[in-house]
């Protein structure tokens, strides 16, 4: 370890570190959203087809039909609803509502939790997400993106308090109850502590929009409306604020541009088209399909994740939205009633004859402006994203790296040494060859016998070498995950283990009881500890 490298590195790396942090945050958002794109698309398709104003309206699937009608489909989930005449009836629940209310936020929370703390994190994040969803009537996407990773992080910290101190045989029990109890507690906390905050944010945004409309700051409304939209507050803002205000104007002027502020499909199309031409990876290939669902089907939600995974694109959406509003102001155009859903067809259906030009231009110009700005943003970061391995892959890599960097709670000294000694340019390099070993898994076929024996022997040896901080556990190969540094298996199982944990180091043994491998591992761990000690004493 040369001290020159250690002292030279920090100076240029500070700015770079900030940049890396921003990139990691972007990659993190992307990794939370990207794997769930199919669910967004599925929901978008179901919605654009089956809701009351959809292409194949279906009261059972769309969730607006009356289950009390004679001869209606029986057995599906229903809920009591209020009819126009004030009576109540059993209304089908359908798939549209449950998917957007529960499925999508839970999936996002799960993905976020999983990034932070693997399967366990995902499970706890999902539990907590339910607390948050049911604690409010506002869609909980923003909440899911915050609470998911946060609750997984809390579990990780709590686990680390007693990691390695539990008597063998009780790990499973303690793990179960920690996650279960913590999950239940945090779900209640989210219900009362967090959901009201999101409700408050939604209400505040609505008030701002309403105030802007009153004060004729119309194009500025895009600054609030577009970000609120991508956080899935589109209905709260659209139906909750803009439609009632628009309805007032219709009474006075016969039309209102407020109906088109949230439902203008131009900005969304611009985002998706920019991805289609300048995006990379999975996002690029799914953007065209999403564009159809969004522009024709009117389900704007399908473009929100594309913004969420690259938040700078919100600038493009705001500028496009503002352009659309300004166009309508200039032409004095507007809609007769709300365009729901925000499909180009629904928009034209609500367009009065004298507003045809203005409305058309407002959609087209909003699209063009958003597309151009988004294209510039995507082009600018394209090389970087590609260099990092492309789309979701890049996110996965960056995330793995980020996790590796911060998972070393027990080994702060070693982490610090690494950070100081590795040249600044190298921190984008995944999987440095001599990565220190912090977690070891013994894997065997059933996880019942031999791996447990091997694990106890190595654990004992490491303890005697003063490295009890390295975790050694045993598992069935089938349960192996790619979150460990070293995997030890019987020779016959090594290939299978490698498939389950491709980024770990793999070692084969013929004999779990006494293998030269154990002494190698112990020697390596001891050397690391000593190197860490010398480093600390010289610096």
């Amino acid at each position: 370890m040369s001290t020159a490298a250690a002292t030279a590195a920090p100076a240029p790396s500070r700015g770079k570190q900030a940049q890396v942090r921003v990139q990691r945050f972007g990659a993190f958002l992307s990794a939370m959203i990207m794997p769930n794109l199919p669910a967004f698309l599925a929901w978008g398709l179901i919605t654009s087809l089956f809701i009351a104003v959809g292409w194949l309206p279906n009261g059972i699937l769309g969730g607006f039909g009356n289950a009390d009608d004679p001869g209606s489909w029986q057995g599906a989930a229903t809920q009591l609803a209020l009819a126009d005449d004030g009576t109540t009836f059993q209304q089908y629940v359908g798939m549209v509502g449950p998917m957007v209310t529960y499925l999508l936020p839970i999936l996002i929370a799960n993905a976020g939790g999983r990034i932070v703390y693997k399967e366990r994190g995902g499970v706890v994040a999902s539990i907590v997400a339910v607390g948050m969803i049911t604690g409010s009537t506002v869609p909980m996407f923003l909440g899911a993106m915050i609470v998911g990773p946060l609750s997984a992080w809390v579990l990780k910290k709590v686990d680390s308090i007693w990691a390695g101190k539990i008597r063998p045989g009780f790990e499973m029990l303690v793990d179960m109850f920690t996650a279960g109890i913590l999950g239940a507690a945090m779900a209640v906390g989210a219900f009362f502590g967090f959901a009201p905050i999101i409700t408050g944010v939604s209400d505040a945004l609505g008030n701002v929009v309403s105030w802007m409309a009153d004060n004729h700051l119309l194009p500025l409304m895009a600054v609030v409306v577009e970000p609120a939209k991508v956080l899935f507050l589109n209905n709260a803002i659209g139906n909750g604020v803009l439609v009632p205000l628009g309805a007032q104007e219709v009474v006075e002027q016969g039309k209102s541009l407020l109906f088109l502020v949230e439902s203008n499909p131009g900005p969304g199309l611009g985002i998706l088209m920019a991805y289609t031409f300048f995006g990379i990876g999975a996002a690029r290939s799914s953007a065209p399909g999403a564009a159809v669902v969004q522009f024709i089907g009117g389900i704007h939600e399908v473009y929100f994740p594309f913004v969420l995974m690259k938040p700078t694109l919100i600038v493009a959406a705001i500028l496009g939205g503002a352009t659309g509003i300004a166009t309508n102001v200039v032409f004095g155009s507007g809609l007769r009633g709300p365009a729901a859903p925000g499909s180009i067809i629904a928009v034209y259906a609500a367009t009065p004859r004298d507003s045809f030009v203005g409305v058309t231009l407002s959609v087209v110009l909003a699209f063009v402006v958003t597309f151009l700005v988004a294209a510039v943003i995507l082009r600018a970061s394209r090389k970087k994203d590609l260099a990092a391995g492309g789309g979701d892959l890049a996110a996965a890599i960056a995330q793995t790296e980020a996790n590796k960097g911060k998972s070393s709670t027990a080994l702060d000294a070693m982490a610090a040494r690494q950070g100081g000694a590795v040249p600044a340019g190298a921190d984008a390099e995944p999987g440095a060859p001599a990565a220190p070993v912090r977690s070891i898994v013994f894997a065997c076929d059933a996880g019942m016998g031999s791996s447990a024996m091997g694990a106890s022997i190595l654990r004992d040896k490491l303890k005697k070498a003063g490295r009890a901080d390295i975790t050694v556990v045993n598992k069935a190969v089938a349960n192996l995950e790619d979150d460990v540094d070293l995997v030890i298996t019987q020779r016959e199982l090594t290939d299978r283990a490698r498939r389950h944990a491709p980024s770990a180091r793999h070692v084969s043994v013929d004999n779990f009881l006494s293998s030269p491998v154990y002494d190698d591992v112990v020697r390596e761990a001891r050397a690391e500890a000593e190197a860490g000690a010398t480093e600390r004493s010289t610096s």
Binding site: A446, G447, S450, A452, M453, I457, A476, D510
Partner: protein, 145 residues
């Protein structure tokens, strides 16, 4: 330790002359103690076909498959010592530890056995032991890790 490996599950001088006989002998002990159904013994033989449970140091640890866990009523471990080595896929085995494990409660006992058998001097004392008391004494010397 004594709960899972009670005195009647320790046999200082087994009779089996082949691997299959040894597995049946260990299995019979587990069945006899009421820990497993007789079907578990077949699962132990089946498990042996996939990967040998020979562990090295004259030790083999036959156990059932993941699917056979339903045949286990409670976790139990038996230990059979052989005066003459049993041929275990070409390896000499002097000690057979039959395992019926549900959950994790048998792991600390396995840990003890593993630590004993990773220590050459203790292995020798197990091989030389002729009574139950001598066998349990060696196991009691180590602390599960």
């Amino acid at each position: 330790m004594t709960e899972l490996l009670s005195a009647d599950l320790i046999v200082p001088a087994g009779r089996a002359g082949s691997k299959e006989e040894a597995i049946r002998e260990a299995g019979a002990l587990l069945v006899g103690s009421g820990a497993v159904d007789p079907g578990y013994v077949d699962a132990m033989l089946e498990r042996e076909l996939t990967i040998s449970t020979y562990m090295g140091s004259y030790l083999a640890i036959p156990h059932g498959t993941n699917e056979a866990k339903g045949a286990i009523h409670r976790s139990a471990v038996c230990l059979v010592r052989y005066e003459e080595p049993v041929d275990w896929d070409g390896n000499p085995v002097r000690v057979v530890v039959g395992i019926a494990g549900v959950g994790d409660e048998h792991l600390s006992l396995l840990s003890r056995i593993a630590l004993v058998f990773s220590d050459g001097e203790r292995v020798q004392r197990v091989l030389d032991a002729t009574t139950r008391e001598q066998l349990t004494a060696v196991l009691a010397e180590v602390e599960p890790a």
